[in-house]
Amino acid sequence: MTTAAGTKAELEVVGLHKQFNGVPVVNDVSLTLRAGEFLTMLGPSGSGKTTTLRMIAGFEHPDRGEIRLRGQDLTALPVYERGIGMVFQNYALFPHLSALRNIAFPLEMRGVGRTEARRRAMSALEMVELGSQAKKLPKQLSGGQQQRVALARAIVFEPDILLMDEPLGALDKRLRETMQLEIMRITREVGATVVYVTHDQEEALVMSDRIAIYNQGRIEQIGTAQDLYERPTSLFVADFIGESNVLTGHAEPGNGVVRGATWVADVPSSATVTGSGPVSLVVRPEMLRIASGAAPEGRNRLEGRVQEAIYLGGVRKYTVRVADGSLLECRVPRTGTESVLDPGDEVTLSWHPDQVVLLPAAERAEPAERAEPADAGAAA
């Protein structure tokens, strides 16, 4: 299954379904990967992302659906014939083999001669900058080094697809950040097509070409980080990626406005919501302008009182309690001329109508993160 560089594969997942003990864990998941693309599956634990990954790898068999690698259906192939590289959450390095022999393992399994296997394993080891650690056993290596060995082992046989299941979960924050960049460098260097699973949204934003947001076994939205942050199509995505203020009101399409209890807002020009009914306005904290004092009547503004003012270095974070009692968050970058507010100050929050997102409000009723179907997906 080894492919020459340049003719890298394209992965297609079509209508994937999987249940565990009658509980749907993956529900009609479809996605397509371009060759060389880095796709991250992001979602709360138990949302089905790991199960999708395990079905692509061949560890789980889908109840329905197809997985195609460059047009060839993989569904019936056993794990060891798929030629897919995988990096496991706890690395799964062979404790009785040295770093070098761990990396040579997939080559030996493919009948590559001993000397050639060692040579290629050594160059993979050098690529992950561990050339000097070849003879060490996994337990003699640090967590980050083990992670690198696992990565080298998964790419040394030039697989069509590289799957990574929360590979940085066990590392501390600083090392995780270094490894994120390292993984990006290495996967780009070998031109690998990557499917990456994580529940860390920052990691997803840093690393991915595209992100698939999972929720309760479905892909809620798939797109670039910018798409997801600036144009979320559901409250779940708006909540999951970054922070957001959600205002609920009623759409009045006739007047082109949304009316809340204490405010009136213009319908953003990008809005796809038509018809009247309950809606949510999503405003990112950095898009809220804050000014001291009460403002004259008008649209796209709210009055409130500063509840909390936090200095974060580059940014000041204000929590403002508005008239209907809810708390909104506002981030003001340090420019040298920004006004400094204190708790108790009366303020006006305002926004530009094109910098908010209008979404149907209905789904707020079931907060997705809490209503997950047990932990079946995470356990699998």
Partner: protein, 292 residues
Amino acid sequence: MTAARETGARSATRAARFAARHGWLLVLLPGGLFLLIFFCYPLVTMAVRSLTDPGPQNYTEVATSPVFRQVLVTTLKTAGLTTLVCLALAYPYAYRMSRASARTTTVMMALVLLPFWSSLLVRTFSWTVLLQDTGLINKMLMALGVVDQPLQLIRTSLGVEVGMVHILLPYMVLPLYTAMRRIDPMLVPAAQSLGARPSRAFARVTVPLSMPGVYAGAVLVFVLSLGFYVTPSLLGGPKNTMLGEVIATQVTRFGFGIGSALGMVLLVVTLVTLGALTLLGRAGSLARERTP
């Protein structure tokens, strides 16, 4: 006065500190005393008597007698064969048990431990009931017309093996199971994702990682087999006589001299085997670590 009190207090704290740091030694005392009185003392006595009762010629007799040499060979052979049979039977069982659900594991563990709940003597006697010429197995075979004469099952090495394997199997299963449980269950899937068929994943990952259990189990079963006495004497014939039986005969009929010498020989053989197996195991894991 005050000075004396101070020194008193100081030595008291020193004693307290000593107790805190080395107090755990006290808990070793009962066990240590027990071993000293009931193990070390008899062992030394035996060593002394083997040389003095009537003299060191005990060893010359042991070394030159063809009977004793034959018995030693039989003992080693029987122990070796028992170890291999136990390993062959226990390995798949322990593997299955290490990969089973919690409930199945409990049931399988109970089945392994079941024999421990009845006496060795009772189990050996039940084997004589089963294996003898007029025993259950022969009666059944003859009733079914498979054979017209009873098979010689008892007083053969087969009988001895059946009895010994039955008794020693748990000692092989338990260390194997412990070693296999320690193997990260993700390793075999990982090997498969790297292109290993299930059989190769087993050979390249599971087998080498279960070797500590194989060594532990093999040592345990082999060493216990060397000292077996009741089972070979009840289920075996004269050809299957093992060292334990000879020692018993010597001691009861002729006194302690030669018996003690034989005992010392058995002890040395056991220690040498243990040492050799340990070196072998260490060399094996070293070789694995050294190969880059």
